[in-house]
Symmetry: C2
Subunit: 313 residues, 2 copies
Amino acid sequence: MILANTYHLHLQPGEEVVAGGGGLHKFMGWPGPMLTDSGGFQVFSLSEMRKITEEGVVFRSPHDGQMIKLTPERSIAIQNTLGADVIMAFDECPPYPATHQEVEAATERTYRWLERSIAAHQRQDQALFAIVQGGVYLDLRCQAATTLAQLDLPGFAIGGVSVGEPPELMAQIVQATTPLLPPQKPRYLMGVGTYREMAIAIASGVDLFDCVIPTRWARHGTAIVQGDRWNLKNAKFREDFGTLDPTCPCYTCQNFSRAYLSHLVRAQEILAYTLLSIHNITELIRFTQKIRQAIFSDRFVEEFGHWLVTKSC
Amino acid sequence: MILANTYHLHLQPGEEVVAGGGGLHKFMGWPGPMLTDSGGFQVFSLSEMRKITEEGVVFRSPHDGQMIKLTPERSIAIQNTLGADVIMAFDECPPYPATHQEVEAATERTYRWLERSIAAHQRQDQALFAIVQGGVYLDLRCQAATTLAQLDLPGFAIGGVSVGEPPELMAQIVQATTPLLPPQKPRYLMGVGTYREMAIAIASGVDLFDCVIPTRWARHGTAIVQGDRWNLKNAKFREDFGTLDPTCPCYTCQNFSRAYLSHLVRAQEILAYTLLSIHNITELIRFTQKIRQAIFSDRFVEEFGHWLVTKSC
């Protein structure tokens, strides 16, 4: 599944251009499943000059300086126009740290915005997911999850984690919230993650993740190999003619050596970032495939239990 | 055929690393034919602090500031180690403008360096090509071509063009020099070119070209389409959902619209540069394929004669 950003696509090229090209799948030539976020996270994390009211958010476009208003109705209309398979309710993602009172207000507003998102949603071929907020306050998280779980929606997400809180707190949030969401529906942890974060979340019942790590790390010249993060600029790779990971079936590992990848990264050749992205995405998908197999054969704790206690990437 | 740069590969990762990876083809995963230049052109065009003597050239490495010496023997040894199918004699490429006396001295030195290159060459599975120099002086060009043509070598190149001289002069050089080179051997015009430059050179009997244009223009967000150069950032492409060139069989044209490419270029998404490189390389190869067909059916002048008189990209 590929995630596309509502916020970025609204600013450029604009959702009407994507729709003119036949919708996201056809426009970008991707026949597989797609998801769009609501734009809420980027509005809160990237925009200066933002103002939040009950109606929605007003912010200044970093592209042309224009003031843009994003409301639940507008976010859903944009996502209906973009045409992904899964779309997300427009939520308020409070920063970390924030007081209990501030987060409670944001969580309650997120619920009202969810109701408006559901009412605005026009396409039955798109699955609208709700988002649990509540910051690091477990009482607010549990209250939100319990309330949302009563709604007849096709999937549920946990948002507002990985915003700067300590890893222990994220684990607590996921462990407390996930079991309250319907087990027969997809449970999606937004913005996660690493091997360890995914293993912990899957142990709690999470099914779906999204994360910039595999492509961002690739652009930084680093590869994810069997649990470790390797910097290909490291001198030891200069003459290492082995494949990145001999067990990996990806195009990069089937065709190129660590020494060649190290050379491409040093030369700042853009092929490096493409090849490392292919490997890193493959590796994270393989990790979850192995976990799925372990769950089927009832060996999850034996095979992946160490990720629940040790700290790594 | 892919051209790799001896100068760049010597500086990084170093020819020993490439050899350790099984030679150029295996190291970069390219099973097709390859050629390495001699390094001469880059030494003259890129290096500061260079000093030319009869023995060779000494220059400062832009990577680490070290002084590096490149001689005919060293260039050939590096190219033997890199392992391309075609390798080039080490030549002195005089700048434009330069006096007749300066160019004559460089041309004579290039001949002595060619003799040393031939003597140094160790691998019979690599074809060593000689290079005709002579600047813009047709007497020096003709003398060099006539002299080289008597040598039993597998191919001949015309170097030192496209260094700043007016297009008319380049055409004169190619038209005067090419017929003097053996017609049964490949005749290679180095660093060229555009549609027009290639058409003119082919009319004179040139068989082989190399040029950065298709990939450099791609990195600048521009596409070569049926003789024109298109800037994908142009507003008219924002909502143009047609394919780049409906007659083109390349991966880019088969899968993506002008609007999508325009979006990728605006977003500075590196996929843009990859997709445009695929198209531009395909387009220039198709141009020469069409010329070959026209020559076979004796219709070259009818179909491509307009390139010999008009100016375009």
